[in-house]
Symmetry: C2
Subunit: 374 residues, 2 copies
Amino acid sequence: MESKVESLWEEVRELTLGATVDRLQSPPTPLQFLRDFVSQNKPCIISNAISHWPALSLWPTPSYLSTSLSSSLVSLHLTPDGQADALVPHPARSSLCFVSAHVQPTLFPQALDIIRRPPNHLVAYLQQQNDCFRTEYSELESDCDAHIPWASEALGCLPEAVNLWIGNHLSQTSFHKDHYENLYAVVSGEKHFLLLPPTDVHRMYLKEYPAARYSYSQENGEFRLEVEEPERYVPWSSVDPCPARGSLKQESLKFPLYFNGPKPFEVTVKAGEVLYLPSMWFHHVRQSPGDGGCTIAVNYFSFAGYDMQFDIKYAYFNFLQSLPCRSIDDQTIPEGECEDDSGSHAPSNHLNSRFSGDESATNNLEIHKDRDNV
Amino acid sequence: MESKVESLWEEVRELTLGATVDRLQSPPTPLQFLRDFVSQNKPCIISNAISHWPALSLWPTPSYLSTSLSSSLVSLHLTPDGQADALVPHPARSSLCFVSAHVQPTLFPQALDIIRRPPNHLVAYLQQQNDCFRTEYSELESDCDAHIPWASEALGCLPEAVNLWIGNHLSQTSFHKDHYENLYAVVSGEKHFLLLPPTDVHRMYLKEYPAARYSYSQENGEFRLEVEEPERYVPWSSVDPCPARGSLKQESLKFPLYFNGPKPFEVTVKAGEVLYLPSMWFHHVRQSPGDGGCTIAVNYFSFAGYDMQFDIKYAYFNFLQSLPCRSIDDQTIPEGECEDDSGSHAPSNHLNSRFSGDESATNNLEIHKDRDNV
């Protein structure tokens, strides 16, 4: 089984993906985009697709944003270290849990200040994947397009959600996938993506982790880690592609399929560029700030086709994910990180979950459809 | 493994295919066709797409065809029983071989006569999948379109091959798949398709059979079965979906995944209708004659996108096909049909062949690209 899965990783690269992500110098026609990228489940970077957005010149100036949004309450995500939606030691067990940020409603000018001039004890990130651009930042809506027209025409629908992301170099997004077709437009600074196709699902070592959340106290400036009650489990990738210095060898032993397999596609998306990130692709994101001291991006989540979000590719993916891969299932988890499965939940190596890796990425997205009812 | 593969068969039907093949009352736009069918690898039947073809009124009249093609030499396929590209007992072993028709260059009027008034000892079929419409039947080219415009625009290319099929109710085409996107336009009579999606590959019991060919003697009116020298093996489906009366039970025991699994999609395409048959779908074809005494169809083979014929779906398919399925591999072949693998060839249960089932379907197609060089 392992060798066949490894052949699949190679074949999808040989047959369709190639060695690097395609770059288009101008927006494709809807047909080209659908045929050469969406239908192929193949990412690309598009230049000169948002050159007409006033946002490109306006948003890098912090005073413009702070004036436009002077009285807006926005969702500020706070963590001690920039790692939200990430794995951290469980507070009560010798295992890991999946932690989300503390979400603090904050006046925008104050939030932007914290991002641009980060204090020592916390990292702030303006990001809320619940269509926040249209709900929390409507004052900015005339600065960019409500959708990407050639993509909407190709996909046959308008975006389900439009999100704004304003952060600094301290924030990272750990490896995960979304079920949406994603168009990611960078307005200021740069975003650095690591990408792996859905065929590489076993290399992500998806496991279920108990959900937790940071609770931040403004009084003493401290974070407390609170495990959700009743327990809820989130399937998430166990792999940190950028392990701390000195721990690469140990991480490679724990996650050999990731560290010894084909390298992920590395992509830097600059201000003015758009990344098409196909559904079900695993992505890890870092960022570099632009002139205004932060990284700003807008992303559009869509389903391809009205009610057609589940296709043969998705069925194949679920099938692949359901297959046991011995080097994962036999994985010896080093002491101190062993999942405690004494609770009521299924064993930790639960690779069969139909929507593994999806739920936590979208757990704030209220418009999210009930997929099990399709 | 078996239960996971069975779940895949069910899931692809639940998520995307549904219970019946979609019918469109008018041609889709290129975008709709690409998004809702090609990208989904999902068949459909389209009405009113070829209503403007003069062929629809002209070709059902035999005298029109015979006059237009009075001096045309065409490739007439002759078999004793209407089964070409089919499995028959090997002449020298207690096993099966894969037999192709005797191809007899024949003046068209004479060929049409034989099809319309079949003699007792042979079945004739005008069909040659090497772009025969444009090479052998060019006198008819103004009677229909050179391509299906909305499909060509969607796929981003003109057809690689256009084929004409003129036959009677005695000819059948056994289960196989093609790597092409296929648009199949019926001009006279009806075509009856059984369709299975690529996910069901294990249900086809693909095995490699030695290639053979009928040789027909006009002198004594007899067929001789000639095995190719040097030996050549063709991967082909072992399943006959319409077994002879009384043998269903035995066939079900030999091919339980086919006979006990989900039913194939049954589709009748009538004169004036077009079937979109996605690449890699297994299909079995029977036919009923129209008023002129024969069934006439034109089909267009295309690749989706310039040089983009191999996508993630294809990689998934190859992976799936490479997986062993115990109920196939342990299959007890009844005595008298057991593959003789004493020759130099690989064992018969060779499911890993990269293009299993493709080669013989296209072995006459000279324009066929060298796929291993992609």
